[in-house]
Symmetry: C2
Subunit: 292 residues, 2 copies
């Protein structure tokens, strides 16, 4: 049985690590909060004390919440770079900045190890059902492929630059946020004209926009049900900050991204950090005098 | 054979009038440019000289380019209101402002006639193939239904307010424009990072955004082919002005609509009025230094 390390048993990481076990891997799991790793061990995995212990398996997958958490588990004391052997591989699946991915790609290479960026689209239910869509990039992405195939329903290749997959991932989250803002504005306009939000959502998600984002979020924005969150609004704001950071570094003005970033920040300011990020629509309705 | 009037044999109106003939209607057609009506007469329709002559059939369909053209054919000399008999019906399929639709609805009622708003989604090819999606509203929309069924693949009912269907139609065009702007920004960001636009378009239009708008326009924005136009950019700018007008009257701020309106106006300013409206993406690329 092949042994693999896994770092980060959050709402996404836990079902992913569980699927790797189901695919026949022996999984050595590290989590900052030790209880989650112990619970995972009770189900047939193994709990380890430090990221370096997980990396000792030679191949380690990570799924953590942001640039800082990733840098900490890689470069911190007891981190991945202390444990990965020569020729080892780190499959980094977190949504992080392209700049961080590029820097860590270079650092791994200096240590004689591979770094593959493989951020995902999909919520925890999709992770559990192996329905993630995965973007991958980095020189050694071919080696990561069997692992990624065990975690998702499709893998898209974006070449050797370890930052590329994260650029695409952030672009996708921006497209979703832009669609949320547009639906919020359109539905508020319709509601102000006496038209049921659900009727409008139903029309568009069954015709021009008959796709998962408009169907699922269209229903949410029409019904204005933003709790429990599928993806926390505060994380959406973080991702839009990453988009704008990448836009700045790339010299690519993105006014719609600026708009949705401001919208999400204002929603955090109004106390909605823990709602689903589709809850940005509440501020649109408030501005139209539809909620007080 | 039932006789029906038809006003406006433009790129949308001509295939629609032709389909009404195919559905068994005798069609009396008026067009401002007389040659088009004469050509239609050669194919088995009838050409008439004034909108009132078309309206004399008792039921008249109109498809013209904007508020002013609609008001002219309805209220001008020799207009629809002079020809429609008591109990007559005007099925108004143009994309116009909700305010104009409401005012004309009231005017028709004063004349003892019905006014049904029935704007459509779809390009000329869709009109020819009877694949239009149609929104309808107005008290007598039930009477219009057989006609609409002969023209499209689906009719969506938005109640008695003759302005409602136009609010929904404008909302849909805004959703498309917002998606165009978002794709333009995302693809430019990716291109600046060395990622092929087509690869990004392909990923999104086969997963999260697997729907007509993102598939068709995603290919166009990726390939940057904006001519010949499916929908002229200048008309897109006009529609976004209608959206913002409706937003103003409704007291519903729409910052994303303002952004795409400005983008389209700037594109007209740069000489692109006659490109497809997806050509708004050229300005996004220029601002990113990708085109000079």
């Amino acid at each position: 049985m092949t042994t693999i390390g896994f770092i980060g048993l959050g709402s996404m990481g836990l079902p992913m690590a569980t699927n790797l076990r189901g695919a026949g891997y022996e999984v050595l799991a590290f989590n900052r909060t030790r209880e989650k790793a112990q619970a995972f061990a009770k189900e047939g995995g193994w709990a380890v004390d430090r990221p370096r212990d997980a990396a000792g398996a030679g191949v380690v997958v990570s799924m953590v919440s942001n640039d800082r958490a990733l840098e900490e588990i890689v470069e911190g004391s007891g981190g991945v770079l202390e444990g990965l052997p020569q020729g080892g591989l780190h499959v980094s699946m977190s949504t992080v900045s392209p700049a961080a991915a590029r820097r860590l790609g270079a650092t791994h290479a200096e240590h004689g190890c591979g770094y593959v960026a493989a951020p995902v689209f999909g919520r925890p239910e999709a992770a559990a059902a192996r329905k993630l869509w995965i973007c991958s990039s980095g020189a050694e992405r071919g080696r990561a492929r069997p692992i990624l195939d065990a975690l998702g329903q499709g893998v898209f290749d974006f070449g050797e630059d370890p930052g590329a997959a994260n650029v695409v991932k952030l672009s996708g989250n921006f497209l979703i946020a832009a669609a949320l803002e547009a639906m919020a504005e359109a539905f508020a306009l319709c509601e102000k004209n006496g038209i049921a939000r659900a009727a409008v959502a139903s029309l568009f998600s069954s015709t021009l926009f008959a796709c998962p984002v408009y169907k699922n979020y269209g229903d949410v924005v029409a019904a204005q049900r933003y709790s429990p969150p599928g993806f926390r609004l505060a994380l959406g704001a973080k991702d839009m900050a990453l988009v704008l950071g990448a836009a700045h570094e790339s010299g690519a003005p993105m006014p719609a991204a600026s708009l949705v970033h401001d919208r999400l920040l204002a929603s955090v300011g109004r106390g909605r950090a823990d709602l689903d990020w589709a809850g940005l629509a509440l501020a649109v309705s408030e501005d139209a005098g539809l909620r007080r």
